[in-house]
């Protein structure tokens, strides 16, 4: 498996991600990842806060249109994230923290999708709270993935 990760990392995509001076390579990818996060997490949080009772004057069902921006943000993160993971395959794809982050993202996506489908009938506070907590968890795990020495949950 490690040979596969090494081949991935040293392949043309992996090399381009890490070493190309293009603004679309690494520096562009981390920017797109942050902008995608701001949209996906930011808008999900705003909708979830409303579902928890903040700014009750906002008609909740009318917030449905903003989910388009949530999913655009998510896909920006997904595409840039896959590219960066290819560029750092031997470290990211062997790191337990990276998979914890992926698990939290998976549950974040699932809970946000549930929030979207239940928006008209009134989502439970538990669901709205889960959306907020799972995305916060994904951000925390994403950061911790960069500090293996601190957590002891290492990248090889």
């Amino acid at each position: 498996m490690n040979e596969f990760f090494a081949a991935l990392e040293q392949g043309s995509v992996g090399l381009w991600v890490r070493e190309s001076p293009s603004m679309f390579a690494y520096t562009g990818l981390i920017t797109v990842h942050a902008i995608g996060l701001a949209f996906a997490v930011g808008f999900s949080w705003a909708i979830a806060l409303r579902a928890l009772g903040v700014a009750r004057a906002v008609p909740l069902e009318a917030m449905e249109s903003f989910f388009g921006a949530v999913w655009i943000g998510f896909w920006l993160c997904a595409v840039s994230g896959v590219a960066m993971a290819i560029g750092h395959a031997t470290t990211d794809l062997t790191s337990p923290m990276f998979y914890i982050k992926l698990g939290l993202i998976g549950m974040g996506v699932g809970s946000t999708r549930m929030l979207e489908t239940k928006l008209r009938v009134g989502p439970s506070p538990l669901l709205a709270g889960a959306v907020i907590a799972l995305w916060a968890g994904a951000i925390i795990a994403g950061r911790l993935n960069e500090y293996p020495a601190l957590t002891g949950i290492g990248r090889s």
């Binding site: 920017t31 942050a34 996060l37 930011g42 906002v58 009318a62 951000i139």
Partner: protein, 174 residues
């Protein structure tokens, strides 16, 4: 200018804390991301509404979410200060960094954009928009500028740590 500003911002206690507590920096990074999401999530919603998304929402109601965006901005001011002061070389690391300077310039422009929105009376016309109301052209310009400026803040923020790398200097002059 940079030297005197660095001396003004200098804080030995914070610098020492960040240097000795390994968790301080990553925790501030997490909070900085939370703040960014809160700010973009709430201000961005308002911007998108003025640009014509989710017209069923009355603008005044959406503005009730703005305090959460301000809270996010305050979180980022505090954690940003920790990054500036806690950097290994102190505040001059950030202050002399071109990407950081551009980030601050964009934050200042975003602030001026909000000020223009309020002091020209455009915000009053925008707040009066009920369900289905189309925002005045001036409000759309403010909203588009806001999105552009905050995305620029994110871009230059991400570039700060790459300002020193050869190719960034070579290709962008940062």
């Amino acid at each position: 200018m940079i030297q005197s500003l660095a001396a003004l911002l200098q804080n030995e206690a914070v610098h020492e804390f960040v240097a000795t507590q390994a968790w301080a920096w990553p925790i501030c990074e997490m909070i900085h991301f939370f703040g960014m999401a809160l700010l973009m999530g709430t201000v961005g919603l308002l911007d998108l509404r003025m640009l014509g998304v989710a017209k069923a929402l009355p603008v005044a109601a959406l503005e009730r979410l703005t305090p959460w965006g301000i809270a996010g901005f305050v979180l980022n001011l505090i954690t940003g200060y920790v990054f500036i002061v806690g950097s290994p070389g102190g505040p001059k690391d950030s202050l002399a960094n071109t990407a950081f300077q551009l980030k601050m310039a964009f934050i200042l422009l975003a602030g001026l954009n909000v000020a223009a929105f309020h002091f020209t009376g455009v915000s009053r016309r925008a707040s009066a928009l009920g369900q289905g109301g189309d925002a005045p052209f001036a409000a759309k310009i403010v909203a588009a500028s806001s999105l552009f400026l905050w995305l620029g803040v994110i871009y230059f923020g991400r570039m700060i740590m790459y300002s020193d790398s050869f190719y960034v200097r070579e290709y962008y002059g940062f």
